[in-house]
Amino acid sequence: MDATAIERTLGQACSAPVELLPLATCAELFVDIPSASLLAAMEGLMREHDLYHLTTITALRDGDGFLVLYHLWLGGGLTLRVRCSGAPPSLPSVCHLLPVAEWYEREVHDLFGIRFEGHPNLKPLLLPEDWVGPPPMLAEETP
């Protein structure tokens, strides 16, 4: 996995330089991507670095908004970190690029309530169809 080349590709996609940060803890690279450039970044990686493996999409609450992590594998681990805010929070869907994202985005939508624009089938994946209540990962702690 050529970190410099990837930085260049992502910098082009985001129209601004990006920095790949190796984690202090393990041999994975993380990079922050603005949500508007997500699709361009994915396309760039697929075109120039033969990306096809999306491991999963993780969402977590960060202050008032969310961080959505796209974990990729390009011979080494690379994660695109996207900040998502707004009410309701939403991101463009990457299903048309990476078909496996269909289920990962459904799961994030289920558990966090984040919408994915352009997703073909945003029905609940893990929760029952008649689930009533806040997304489980956002619900308040019960004492």
Binding site: L23, T56, T58, L69, V100, W103, Y104, L125, L126, L127
Partner: protein
Amino acid sequence: MTEMTIPIGPQHPLLKEPLSIELDVSGERVVGGRVNIGYVHRGIERLCQQRTYAQNTALVERICGICSHAHTTAYCQAVESLMGLAIPERAAYIRVLMCELERIHSHLLWLGVLAEAIGFTTIFMYAWRDREMILDMMEELSGGRIAHAANIVGGVRVDISPEQVELLLQRLRAFDEQMAFFRELIDRDRSFHRRTLGIGRVSLDMVHAYSMVGPPARASGCDVDLRRDAPYAAYSSLAFDVITADGGDVWSRAQVRLQETIQSVRLCQQVLQELPEGDLATRAPRRVAPGEAVARVESPRGELFYYVRSDGSDRPARVKMRTPTLPMLLALQYTLPGLETADVAAVIAGADLCIACADR
């Protein structure tokens, strides 16, 4: 042509766990399918946030019965990365031993399930009988057949005495001979071939499109195995072959899994013969500095992914696990159309699904 929708699940004799597959069939051909999961969703990710790092080891072990050790290995690795802990070499070797024993028993379980699905009950009985040899070994080592609780954050809890090493080596030799029978079977038995050869072909393009992992991906020619490509635990010191095949059908998957079992026996023997002396675990702190870590482990079904994020307290802020069955299920949904109805059982059983893993 009679058009009907056959519900496979959530309760069905073919399935070991609740899963819903709705098959639209026209005559004897499948024209559409929908896979629904979520029947065993227990909210593990949220539960992890409410428990300490040490308690979570026990929790993630119970996500699944057949890959429980892989889950704890991945989780412990991620947390150890967060803490900056290096585990002792002896612990790394013992982790590999349990991982490989688990791989063997999982593959034999799968062979039995596939045989049952195609009506070959005899093979089901033989495979599970031989699987007992492995389960007995794991019970002797750790006290549990399925839930071993071998891993702790910082190392392992289980030790192996020199007498046990000898005993295990003997047992592995006996087991290896039994495996020769299954090898013959997959290679030669015509009845088995008729139900698995050429059935449910998955191309390499599909593997890439659905990010499939594990033996099904390798059976379609995708040469990725995390034990070799991103070694963890003690794998960088051990010699083994990565098995791939080209057919992409159920038979190729059987080949790959069976050969992997033989490689696993080899790995176990190496571990037992080269087991270094040393401590079993490094002491782990209770609180963890803020940070995030990723661990990828080659479980019996493929790449198991863990992401752990800490916020400085003694409980993780986020634990995310991606199990290998998830992409397999999605790929299954798109593989089903075009199959003959009678082959659906072989394809579903041949996919080695672990729904409890997928649902978490």
